[in-house]
Amino acid sequence: MQKNFLLVCLLIISLLLTGCENKRELDELGIVLGVGIDLISDGLIQLTVQVAKPGEMKGQEGGGGGGATPVSVITSQGRTMFEAVRNMTLFSSKKLFFSHNQILIFGENLAKHGLDEVIDFLERDPELRTEVPMLIAKGTAADILKIPGNLEKITALEINNALETVEFSAKAGRVEFYDFLRTYFKKGFSPVVPLIEKTTVQGKEQHRIAGMAVFKNDKLAGTLNEHETRGLLWITGQIKSGIIVIKNQKQPDTWISLEIKSAKSKITVKQKNKVPQIEVDIQENSSLGEVTGPLSVNTSNKLNMLKQYQDKEIKHEVDSVLNKALKNLKADIFGFGHEFYRNYPKEWAHIKDSWEQKLPSLKVSIKIKSNIENTGEKTNSTTAAKKEN
């Protein structure tokens, strides 16, 4: 009997000795909502965090003032990332809690120097999530995090949401840290990360998503503007919505906006005489969203004409990014090399070292098949309808 009792006791004790006992009350935690990492002089790493001040968040009831910001921005430095994190305790009364981080911003300096210095900690630490959207700041990350919230109270949340709504313009893509790591480790694939910059609109500081940053390995190699970014997204098939603006070539200074309803792309890699040949098939569906000037789209001829314009515009965007990435930056941001490796793993072994040199001369053929599904609620443009009357 006593033996059994002892056994039960041992069992219970062993169940309780599993460790991971970290009790922390909510009010002892500084909930980190945004993390910015910069490289400053002397090779020091500067960490900037946005910490929520829950008390100020309550806001509406009884708060009144509204002047108080619900986040505070704290900055610390260290030789390594971890040291910088722990140095935060020199400035903060609460233990920082990183699990709810909404955004990860790297400064331009650090990106140019190479992200390898900090990635290890970000991957290793269990508290940090890798599913957090990642951005490269033009300038320093600290500057971005210091911009007061505009539509939302918290800048980090605002940027996070902005990266989701940006798909309606398709001028930048949302890239999570995890995605970055995945492409980073892939063969023949260069990661791209959205760029963010600080602008001043009517005397008010604002952040703006400004295209994408191109990486070669862990280093920032160059940037894509919005036009080129759109081209990249066409090729990688990441476009969900967006507007294509084309010029009505028959009427000066009139424009036609087409709303992208759906888009698909397919990258096929072939080999001809040991030379890789890339084919990109882009399929697109759109609807007529806006017409300025007199134009009535009431015949299939006119619709076909619009389709041609559309094809041309897409082609233009795609060409621009191919030109920029392959010829200028020599970065395979489309994953052509990776696709080639998947299809011809043996051949890849021979050319993988010279892949970068081969990029400028890579043959990429683009096929675009676009369609305009409908013309909205009417056929004639408003100007055209007025003239007919």
Partner: protein, 524 residues
């Protein structure tokens, strides 16, 4: 459990002479032929109590002395006067004068009472008197007559207080045993309905009645119940709970293995399913065995409303049960151990509410839980007129003021309130839920979700090992009986409930005809 048993066994090795037997030996006397001796014996036994009525009279028909014995307030005195005294002293019926036959003559020809027993021992006569009957002692006879004249004040059949329904019968059990058995008899008019009486309690001599349906109920369960009941050697029985604790399968478990109901329709339904009911004199609560865990979620209302709604409400009860047990522990676990699992906006809301509150979340939860139990207990026990005071104190002082004073975070109040409301969706499991919640909350406070998981595992292990009169407690879920889930997972339409629960009514599984789904007549 075994440890406990051993612990108590040490104190139990005492002499085993029951005072009951002692008392019986003095009382086990035969009725004498001499009327005066009998009178003295009765006086001695009843100790000259003030409510004892002894009426001496002369039986007119044979000119023999006799006396009537009953208790004021227990026997119906008008009945005694009209049907016993009147015929005895007025009726000049010619007898053959044989004194030994007098008692038989009186029984057969004079007394106008339906239930008459001839007894020879004083004990039997007295126990009848103590239960409200009238005893007739006749000079020269060694037997006495016990005449059923029970007529005491009782509450009558009223609305059941603890189990109310919207559609369904409104009568509830009352205190007198006879009313209660008749309530069941009225529902099940079947000669197979067997009622077996027993008397328990040395002092109280409480009658109880085992009710079951022969041919449906397993006789082994009845026998086991009788064994358990006859083992009881106690002073007093004042309520169903007194008996319940003596016949439980797992007395140390927080799970109840004996059902309790106040509704004759529920008791009757359980009897027809093959269960045994124990009606106890003096309480409107009737026990039913075997009792399964799922019965706590089955309300009589379920069978009176349409099946879809019944299924919905049943799942509401399951959800409520889970919420009332798990909400406070999960809240504590998430806010003090696993903050990364809370969605960010919610976490910030929680953090904002926690800001400035002095106690750790665990203490907060425990404190609020105890406060709720205070209010609940006060609400049950307090005199009606002060009810408002309690609700004001409960709602305003503890809910509102505690938050605005910054003692407790608002989410904690919401958690406690939700727990409090949901617990009453499964009122029959109130004791279970309260204990479980406390246990899991403690575990969550020490080890977070890990603790919750461990306690849940323990609860599972414990419940699947429980039996109620040989029937697995968690059945029909474990062991799984798919057929019986018709009354567990869903509430099947009444016409589809073709079989009795197979763990209970296996003696006679078919309850009704199959294929009774109503449909419109076919067009010719």
């Amino acid at each position: 459990m075994i440890l406990f048993k051993n612990f108590f066994r040490r104190f139990r090795k005492q002499k085993n002479i029951s005072p009951e037997a002692e008392w019986r030996s003095t009382c086990q006397q035969n009725i004498r032929a001499n009327l005066d001796e009998n009178l003295q014996l009765v006086r001695a036994n009843l100790g000259n109590s003030s409510d004892v009525i002894i009426r001496s009279l002369k039986i007119a028909s044979c000119n023999v002395d006799a006396f009537l014995l009953n208790l004021d307030g227990m026997a119906d005195q008008t009945l005694v006067a009209e049907c016993i005294i009147k015929p005895l002293i007025l009726l000049e019926y010619q007898t053959d004068g044989n004194n030994n036959g007098v008692i038989g003559e009186i029984k057969d020809s004079i007394i106008a009472i339906a239930d008459v027993k001839e007894v020879s021992s004083l004990d039997e006569a007295l126990s009848g008197v103590l239960a409200g009957d009238t005893a007739l002692f006749v000079d020269g006879s060694k037997n006495a007559l016990v005449l059923s004249t029970k007529g005491f004040e009782s509450r009558g059949v009223q609305d059941p207080q603890t189990e109310t329904v919207v559609r369904g019968p409104r009568e509830g059990f009352s205190e007198p045993l006879r009313i209660n058995t008749s309530l069941i008899r009225r529902k099940i008019k079947n000669p197979d309905l067997i009622l077996k009486n027993m008397t328990i309690g040395k002092q109280t001599k409480t009658n109880l009645c085992i009710v079951y349906l022969k041919g449906v109920c397993d006789e082994k369960i009845v026998q086991e119940l009788k064994n358990r009941l006859s083992r009881i050697d106690t002073d007093s029985v004042f309520g169903a709970g007194n008996i319940e604790q003596f016949i439980e399968d797992a007395p140390y478990s927080i799970f109840l293995t004996v059902g309790i109901t106040e509704r004759p329709d529920v008791a009757a339904a359980k009897i027809t399913e093959g269960r045994v009911a124990i009606i106890i004199e003096g309480t409107p609560m009737v026990l039913t065995v075997p009792y399964l865990f799922v019965e706590g979620f089955q309300s009589p209302e379920d069978y009176f409303v349409r099946p879809f709604f019944a299924t919905l409400t049943r799942w509401l009860r399951y959800t409520a049960f889970l919420i009332t047990i798990y909400l406070p522990p999960v809240y504590i676990a998430l806010t003090t151990f696993h903050q990364e699992m809370i969605p960010t906006p919610l976490l910030i809301t929680f953090a904002a509410a926690r800001e400035g509150t002095p106690f750790p979340g665990f203490v907060e939860a425990l404190g609020m839980g105890i406060v709720f139990e205070f209010i609940r207990e006060a609400g049950v026990r307090m005199p009606r007129p002060v009810g408002q005071a309690v609700s004001i104190v409960g709602a305003l002082v503890i809910g509102q003021a505690a938050v605005s004073a910054g003692l407790v975070g608002a989410p904690m109040v919401i958690v406690t309130a939700l727990t409090a409301i949901t617990v009453f969706l499964v009122p029959s499991l109130l004791e279970v839920t309260t204990a479980l919640r406390l246990a899991i909350t403690l575990a969550a406070g020490f080890a977070g979700l890990y603790g919750i998981l461990l306690t849940t595992l323990l609860i599972f292990i414990h419940t699947v090992s429980l039996r109620s009169f040989g029937v697995p407690y968690i059945s029909p879920i474990a062991p799984l009986t798919l057929k019986d889930l018709k009354d567990v997972l869903v509430n099947a339409p009444i016409w589809a409930m073709g079989t009795r629960p197979s763990q209970i009514g296996y003696q006679n599984l078919k309850r009704q005809a199959y294929n009774m789904k109503p449909k419109p007549p076919k067009k010719d």
